[in-house]
């Protein structure tokens, strides 16, 4: 690890530095709260909430065959997507030392699955190919980053001991890959759970996964049906470790590719039309290139900046920042639920806490934001809550697992004192590492809240797709990709600077 230490600045590892960075982030989030609209304006949410609770307590399956097929589709898209993503990610990771490859990976993973899906729908329709690629592409970018960083971090001794320093592929396969294999496998399997959630969410734009029916049921207030669908998704994710064994994986792979072969009525014409017409900015379409069209183009750009890009960027950043800090606070609060330091003597409590966190992180942001909207009224508050609860549960879960490695002295205090004076200082460094890793993801997830009507870039992207203005959609997608890449860079810089260990399980 030391051999690869290419830290640009001198790392500052003091507790003071951690405190300073934390305070800065909190201060920026507070400033965001001042700008953001967080008023509470609701009057009578109880009728609807009563219906929701009643629905949650009386799940009803309307059609077992639809439930089964949409669960199977959810699983199939996820497994296919992660497999293809892992193969592509592995190939990209081989060239991860090249800046261009790194930038490419950062770019493809900074575009949300939903937007990849919306783009592919234009050329490949609502097909199984669309679903596969929408997951595989961003996951390839993420997995490439993780694999690449793992390759950099393995013990360089075997490679250094080779007679000549040739960096051929076979050298890599015999020296680096075996050492990185275990964490790669662990991480990929963790990522698979995320892929199932992604796959479910693709249903929101029309792919036949469980999200398709879940969104409909929630939208129309059929809460008993929604509950059944949600419990089924929860069950699928919760039971993975029981049946998704490594040795059975090839079998499952064959089954999903036979069950849902990635196909589409691809037409060359559609692709050509999409590239040469649809995404060309409207003022430039079918125009000869002269000063007049250039003026029209700059006006178009200016208007787009004023009306959509600027407000979208601001809202995305503000929501992302507040959401991140809130996730962090929530994660610290949830940590005891999932840590053996606090639940050691009561295994049932650990199980319960674990289950609660799985429940929280599986709840779609969509549902959380809608409940928030009912209770709190329209503002940024429901979105902040949705982002915070979802991501806080994920970080809390990871932090809990990390804290299991800590051994406290037998006479260490317990309870609140133990939490603040024994545990928190020991996990704080890791906590920041997780949070910074998650930052980029939180920002990307503001997209889905935009689709629900909160004025982030996702809102304007969705509006552009709704009105078939793909030129605008693409420009807005590129803007959000640039923003996410920039945040990714900043987070990378901060982690290096503070010398935070970059265990990759947290993306």
């Amino acid at each position: 690890m030391l051999a690869n230490n290419k830290t640009p600045d001198k790392p500052d590892t003091s507790a003071g530095a951690l405190r300073r960075v934390s305070l800065w982030f909190a201060a920026i989030a507070l400033l965001g709260l001042v700008i953001a609209d967080i008023s509470v304006t609701t009057l009578d949410p109880w009728t609807e909430l009563r219906l929701m609770v009643a629905g949650a307590l009386s799940p009803s399956v309307w059609s077992w065959s639809i439930l089964a097929s949409s669960l199977a589709n959810t699983f199939a898209f996820a497994l296919q997507g992660v497999t293809l993503g892992a193969i592509a990610g592995f190939s990209l990771a081989l060239g991860y030392r090249f800046t261009l490859v790194r930038a490419f990976c950062s770019f493809i993973r900074s575009i949300h699955e939903l937007f990849w899906a919306l783009l592919f729908i234009q050329v490949a329709g609502l097909s199984s190919l669309t679903g596969l690629l929408a997951i595989a592409i961003p996951y390839a970018g993420t997995l490439a980053k993780i694999y690449g960083e793992l390759f950099e971090e393995v013990d360089p001794l075997p490679l250094d001991n080779l007679p000549r320093r040739r960096r051929g592929l076979s050298y890599l396969f015999y020296t680096v890959v075996p050492l990185a294999w275990q964490p790669m496998a662990t991480y990929t399997s963790y990522r698979f759970e995320c892929a199932i959630r992604s796959s479910a969410i693709l249903g929101f734009v029309g792919l036949p996964t469980i999200g398709f029916h879940l969104e409909t049921a929630l939208g129309e207030g059929h809460y008993s049906e929604a509950a059944a669908l949600f419990y089924a998704l929860l069950f699928l994710i919760g039971s993975l470790r029981l049946w998704l064994h490594k040795r059975l994986l090839p079998l499952y792979l064959v089954v999903v590719f036979v069950y849902l072969p990635p196909q589409a009525q691809l037409s060359w014409q559609l692709l050509v039309r999409f590239v040469t017409e649809d995404i060309v900015p409207a003022p430039l379409r079918n125009q000869s290139f002269n000063s007049e069209t250039l003026t029209a183009f700059s006006q178009w750009l200016q208007l787009l900046w004023q009306q959509q890009l600027w407000p979208g960027l601001t809202n995305t950043l503000v929501l992302g920042q507040i959401g991140m800090v809130f996730s962090g606070l929530l994660a610290l609060a949830l940590l005891p639920l999932n840590s053996s330091l606090f639940t050691a003597k009561r295994s049932w409590a650990r199980g319960l806490g674990d289950g609660f966190l799985i429940l929280l992180r599986t709840l779609p942001e969509y549902l959380l934001a809608f409940v928030g909207l009912l209770i709190l009224g329209p503002s940024m508050l429901p979105a902040i809550l949705a982002l915070g609860i979802h991501n806080g549960a994920i970080i809390g879960h990871l932090l809990g697992r990390y804290s299991d490695q800590i051994i406290l002295r037998a006479d260490a205090s317990g309870g609140v004192t133990g939490y603040f004076y024994e545990v928190l200082p020991r996990v704080y460094r890791q906590f920041l590492a997780f949070l910074f890793y998650r930052w980029e993801v939180i920002l990307r997830e503001t997209a889905i809240l935009g689709i629900l009507g909160i004025g982030t870039l996702g809102f304007y992207i969705d509006s552009a797709f709704e009105t078939f203005r793909f030129d605008r959609a693409l420009l807005l997608i590129l803007a959000s990709a640039l923003l996410n890449s920039a945040v990714d860079q900043l987070s990378h810089y901060l982690r290096r600077r503070l010398h935070l260990k970059t265990t990759p399980e947290s993306l």
């Binding site: 009057l43 193969i87 207030g221 072969p261 329209p378 629900l452 009105t467």
Partner: protein, 293 residues
């Protein structure tokens, strides 16, 4: 092992590509539908409509479900469906994107469709003959962004009567995404005002889901043409010279109440493109589509 896996994956990909490229000489006729309510259970209900058309037309007919107005239009544009039950606005968008396509039939009720403006009791607004000026500064939610009755026409009348864009008029503007959800949100007071499809309102009222002490209709729009069947222009070349005529007849003669309930309409009547000119003008007026270049 790794190589084998990759090779078999590649094979599978190639094979499926070949399957996709294979076209039989008598293709399946595919349609989709944008329902304005009760979206769940669509597949079952519309499979019956598909079976009806298949019987009448003597070709294989299949229904594909879609999630949104935009998805339906995209499928139509890409020739993944040849016939679609569109809303007023989505139909206009689809016909602009597919030259030669035309509206062939609309629901009986679609000749005089309406939107309701609804208000939570706390807003203090009562039913009136026009949109009250006191709406200003309150919170308001549309339905889906691409909806005719939940977005287009309400926005048009707001601009026409109160001379302001919704963003300027209201303190907050939302898009609930769904008519039922608009009702739920206004009933809960999350938004003080909203605009809905009148049929959804009436059917939820009949089902006892609406508490009129909490939320009520304060204004209804004048009638406008809404949902319609739109057909691509190039289908006779594939399915036979009289295919579009036979299809139109089959739709207009659909009488089974069970089939009609899927839409839900009492009957279908003839329609054509010029009928929807008011929708085109309105959509251009509020910037949802660009004027023809």
């Amino acid at each position: 092992m790794q190589c084998q896996l990759i090779r078999s994956l590649l094979l599978i990909l190639l094979w499926t590509g070949a399957v996709a490229a294979d076209t039989t000489n008598k293709p399946e006729f595919v349609f989709t539908a944008i329902p304005d309510q009760d979206e769940s259970h669509l597949q079952q209900r519309f499979n019956k409509v598909a079976a009806y058309l298949q019987r009448e037309l003597n070709v294989a007919v299949r229904y594909v479900p879609v999630k949104s107005y935009a998805a339906a239009v995209t499928a139509f544009r890409n020739n993944q469906v040849q016939l679609a039950w569109f809303g007023g606005l989505s139909g206009v968008q689809a016909r602009r994107l597919v030259p030669g396509s035309r509206a062939i039939a609309q629901g009986y009720e679609d000749q005089f469709f309406r939107s309701y403006f609804i208000a939570h009791r706390s807003s203090g607004l009562e039913e009136s003959d026009s949109l009250p000026e006191t709406m200003a500064g309150k919170t308001f939610t549309f339905g889906s962004k691409g909806s005719t009755s939940g977005r287009l026409m309400p926005e048009y009348y707001l601009r026409q009567q109160l001379q302001q864009a919704p963003d300027q008029l209201f303190s907050k503007v939302g898009y609930s995404g769904d008519h039922s959800r608009t009702i739920a949100l206004v009933q809960s007071g999350a938004y003080q005002l909203g605009a809905v499809n009148y049929k959804v309102w009436e059917s939820e009222l009949a089902a006892g889901k609406i508490d009129t002490d909490k939320v009520r209709v304060i204004w209804q729009t004048p009638p406008y043409p809404d949902y319609q069947w739109t057909l691509r222009g190039d289908i006779d070349a594939i399915w036979g010279a009289d295919f579009s005529a036979r299809l139109t007849t089959a739709l207009l003669e659909m009488q089974d109440p069970e089939l009609l309930a899927s839409f839900p309409r009492s009957a279908f009547v003839a329609a054509d493109n010029p009928l929807y000119q008011p929708i085109v003008d309105t959509a251009i007026a509020i910037g949802l589509i660009d004027a023809e270049q």
